[in-house]
């Protein structure tokens, strides 16, 4: 017995094109052509809707508050042993690249940065690399291997937090001659995107804010520049703002954190975990919960001085 294919049982199968008369075939071709044209019109239409309607709206949202904040100062030692201070580059356009050697998308951007440094260094531009590796060893090896021609230092979590935290690497900040951050790019970008922005900023005034700067490339929600709060970052309990507490209240709050073990697996108290592992989201949440409870008790007059 012969096997039957499922399509042989369907009504559509009996209307196969090869059995159709020529006029039906022509009608089918016309329909297909019309469908293809409609699809093309839709694609082109969506492109323009995105370009002139959606992308500007996202762009406006990413720039809605704070416009172009001043880049947080930092002072590090680069991997060749020289001091690396952002303030030393005042008056220059700076591309500040947070990256790591274990990050493929970061590595792929580096040759483009080396090229930018070659082309624009004598026009008032510099690249700065901040590696988020745990140690300098792999960074030094990579720096030599690629013959990187710009300063690179190993950063730290505090610096990342000052720049608003790193939602992912690479994260690159585009800083103008006036020391303001004009753009933030999370994820690997085409070198042309940075070049467009650098050229625009090189042509701008070194003192006045460039109000109508145009961020190039694709723009994501993570690209919004929101800097960290130094009072929270440099707190005795990193990540928790203690400025609303008196000295006695601070001690009482720290005592509470010291008395509780962090359940993240570190085997430390909540206080110690916060202090030695700023990235621990478990201790951060619990310390914040304790702060909320502490403030609530304080407002109701319980257990506070």
């Amino acid at each position: 017995m012969e096997e039957q294919t499922p399509s042989e049982n369907t009504p559509q199968a009996s209307k196969a094109p090869e059995s159709s008369p020529p006029e039906n075939r022509a009608a089918l071709q016309s329909k297909l052509l019309a469908g293809a044209l409609l699809a093309l019109v839709l694609v082109v239409g969506l492109y323009y809707v995105n370009r002139y309607w959606i992308a500007p709206a996202v762009r406006a949202q990413t720039k809605s508050d704070g416009d172009h904040p001043l880049a947080p100062a930092f002072s590090l030692t680069d991997i060749t042993g020289k001091p690396l201070k952002l303030s030393d580059y005042q008056g220059k356009v700076v591309l500040l690249d947070f990256w790591a050697t274990w990050c493929g998308p970061c590595r792929v951007e580096i040759p483009g940065f080396i090229e930018l440094q070659k082309r624009y260094a004598d026009q008032g531009f510099t690249m700065i690399g901040i590696s988020m590796d745990d140690s300098p060893e792999p960074v030094v090896g990579f720096y030599k291997e690629l013959q990187m021609n710009y300063p690179v230092a190993v950063g730290n979590d505090r610096l990342g937090e000052l720049y608003g935290g790193m939602p992912g690497l690479p994260t690159t900040f585009v800083i103008g001659r006036d020391g303001r951050i004009y753009a933030k790019h999370v994820g690997a970008m085409e070198p042309g995107v940075f070049e467009t922005e650098v050229k625009e900023l090189l042509a701008a005034s070194p003192t006045d804010e460039l109000k109508d700067f145009h961020q190039a490339g694709r723009i994501f929600q993570d690209d919004k520049v929101v800097l960290g709060d130094p009072a929270t970052i440099d707190s005795e309990v990193p990540g928790i703002n203690l400025t609303k507490l008196t000295a006695d209240q601070k001690e009482a709050y720290k005592k509470i954190l010291l008395s509780q073990q962090c359940p993240c697996g570190c085997k430390l108290s909540l206080l110690k975990c916060r202090q030695v592992d700023r990235r621990c989201s478990v201790s951060l949440k619990l310390a914040q919960d304790q702060m909320d409870a502490f403030l609530k008790n304080r407002s109701s007059g319980v257990a506070t001085k």
């Binding site: 839709l42 274990w102 493929g104 994820g187």
Partner: protein, 178 residues
């Protein structure tokens, strides 16, 4: 009209594609023991099932490039259970925009097996081992810092005369314990 709506949705997705996840939530993991309880002085089969969020990958335990951080299952030392072997799955070779060569990665559900040995002297009772699933995740255009997710492992030890029942045997069929 419906097509236009879908087109709009698609365009919005493309425009706002950033980090769908933040912080450490890219991987969720749980542990399962091959039987509902174990006996003293016996091997204990354990599986850790890690779910990698859509759009992300983590590196193979044996990454294709030396700079990549491998995925690892680590267990805190215990007086009652010793680790005999860890069985990692083979990664999938995949091309990414940031690499000329295909990379061996894990996506979706990752099942790591672990063979433990219960000590001869372990008394009947319930024990919790602290395990960690360590990984470093990326998507096609950016990476997250290396991190780990805690995986508590609960093991019930029963007297030798108590029969054991298999648990989630389909999971353990996927692991080639040596």
């Amino acid at each position: 009209m419906r097509m236009l709506l879908w087109g709009g949705v698609l365009t919005l997705m493309v425009t706002s594609l950033g980090w769908a996840q933040n912080g450490n939530s890219v991987v969720e993991a749980r542990a399962v023991v091959a039987t509902d309880a174990v006996h003293a002085n016996s091997p204990v089969k354990l599986a850790v099932l890690a779910q990698v969020a859509a759009g992300f990958h983590i590196n193979d335990h044996k990454p294709t490039l030396d700079y990549l951080i491998p995925t690892e299952l680590k267990v805190d030392p215990s007086d009652h259970f010793t680790v005999k072997s860890v069985v990692y799955p083979k990664g999938t070779l995949k091309r990414f925009a940031f690499s000329d060569a295909p990379l061996s990665v894990y996506e979706g559900t990752v099942v790591v097996g672990m063979l433990l040995q219960a000590a001869p002297t372990v008394p009947a009772g319930t024990y919790t081992l602290k395990a960690k699933f360590a990984y470093q995740a990326c998507n096609d255009h950016a990476c997250l810092p290396p991190t780990s997710v805690p995986v508590p492992v609960t093991i019930k030890v029963v007297p030798r005369n108590v029969p054991l029942k298999p648990v989630e045997s389909d999971v353990f069929q996927r692991i080639k314990f040596e």
